[in-house]
Assembly symmetry: C2
Homo-oligomer: 258 residues x 2
Amino acid sequence: MALKYYHAEPLANSLKSMVPLKEKGLAYDSIYVDLHKFEQHSDWFVAINPEGQVPVLDHDGVIITHTTVINEYLEDAFPDAQPESGPLRPRDPVGAARMRYWNKFVDEHVMNHVSMHGWHRMIRVIAGGIEDGTFEELMERIPLPDQRKKWATARSGFSEADLANATAKIEYAVDKVERQLGESEWLAGDSYTLADINFYSHCGMMVERMFPEMDIAGRCPRLIAWRDRVTARPAVAEALKAEDRTMPGLRTWSGHVR
Amino acid sequence: MALKYYHAEPLANSLKSMVPLKEKGLAYDSIYVDLHKFEQHSDWFVAINPEGQVPVLDHDGVIITHTTVINEYLEDAFPDAQPESGPLRPRDPVGAARMRYWNKFVDEHVMNHVSMHGWHRMIRVIAGGIEDGTFEELMERIPLPDQRKKWATARSGFSEADLANATAKIEYAVDKVERQLGESEWLAGDSYTLADINFYSHCGMMVERMFPEMDIAGRCPRLIAWRDRVTARPAVAEALKAEDRTMPGLRTWSGHVR
C-alpha cells in the first residue's frame, strides 16, 4: 500500500488534506508542487491531474482530487486509522450530516472569498511581473477555463465590488461559526471532524491576520479559542511545518503581508 | 420511524432528494411547500429550516437540509434499502469518490447556472408583478442574504454578461458529461448513483428543452440516451408525477416556456 500526496504550501487546499493524513497517522510520500514555477500546469503534473490543480492523492495509482472528496475517501479507505479524539467523520448518520453541512458551507461560501483576497494580494504581484507574451503562454497551459479567468483577473486586480462582496461573505461566515461554537465545542458537534479541518484551513487559521479591520478577537472570541485548540493539535502543528517556498514578502495568507 | 419530505415542484433540488427516497422504497410523508406563495419564508417553515429553503428531510424530528447532504444521509441511515441496480452510493471507496467528484461538480459548477436561466425567465415575471412595498416586505422575510440578493436581481433581470457566463458553464458541463459517458455507462462508473440523480435533476432532464440553441441532441447523443435511461426508471417516473402547481405559462424549467 502506497500513498503519495502532491501539494503546495501548508495552507488552504494543500493543508486541508494533509492534516487528515497526519491525524490518521498514515505514512505517505510528500511531493511538493511549486506553484511559483507553475508546476501545477506542467506536463508531468497535468498527466497526473488533468485539471492542473493541487492537491492530489495517489493511492496505489488511483488518483483522487478535490480536498473534500479526498478527505471522505480517506475515511472510507482507512476507517480504523483515527486520532484519539475520535473519527474525523462521525460514525452516526446525523453527525456525518452535520459535518457535511459545514463542509459544503466552507466549500461553497467561504473558500473562494478568502482565496480571492489572498490572490488579489499575492498573485497580482506575481502575475503582474510576468511579461505579456510569457503570461499568454502560461495561461494557455491552464486546463480549467475558470482558473484561466481567475489568473487573468488576478493579474489586473479584482474589482473593489468583488472584494467587498468577498469581505461580506467572510464576515457572515465568521459570525455563523461564532454562533455555532456557542452551541457545540466543534463545528459539527462534540468532536473534532473534517469540518473543523476545512474551516481552519480555508479561513480560521488566517482570518485574524489577513483581516485586522474585522477585529476577529473582539468579534469572535470562541472562534479564536477554537483556532488555538486546532493549532495545538500535534498533527496540525506538524502539517504547518511543511515546506513553504513562498518568498516572505509574498506570504499574504501565511504571513503578515497585506 | 417516520420520514417527512418538504419539497416544491419535482425538478432541481426538490426532485434531487425525492428520487433517492423513491429508489430506496422508503415510505415518507410528502409535504408540498408552495414557492408561489413564498411559503418557504413563512414562519411555520422557517421554524423547521431557518435558512428558508426547500427541500428538507425530517427523520424522527431530526432536520437535514441541502440535497447532497440529505442524499448521503439516506445512504448512511438506510444502507440496505437499495434499488436492484445497486447502491446509490458505491460501497467501494474509489467508486464513492468518483460519485462525490461529480456531485461536487454539479453542486458548484452546474446547478446555479441552470438555475439562473430558470429564475431569469420565471421569477422575473413573478417578482416583477409584485408591488414595491409588498416586494420589500417579502424580501425582509428571506433569511439568507444570498437568496435576498438573488431575488432582487431576478426582479430586475440578470445581466446579459451573467447569463452568457452561465450558458458557457452549462456548455462546458454537457460536454464534460458527454465525454464521461463515452468512458462509462453512468457518471461515476458502471452503476447508477447519486451523481446521475444530481446531474439529471439540475441539468440533464431539462437542458435540451431549455436551451434549444445548444442542439443538445446533435452535440451530446450519449447524454440524451443517458437521460432517457434515467427518465425510464420507475422511481424517477413516479417522482416526476409529483404535484406541480406552477402555472403552465411559467413552467420555464419543466415546460416549454422561454
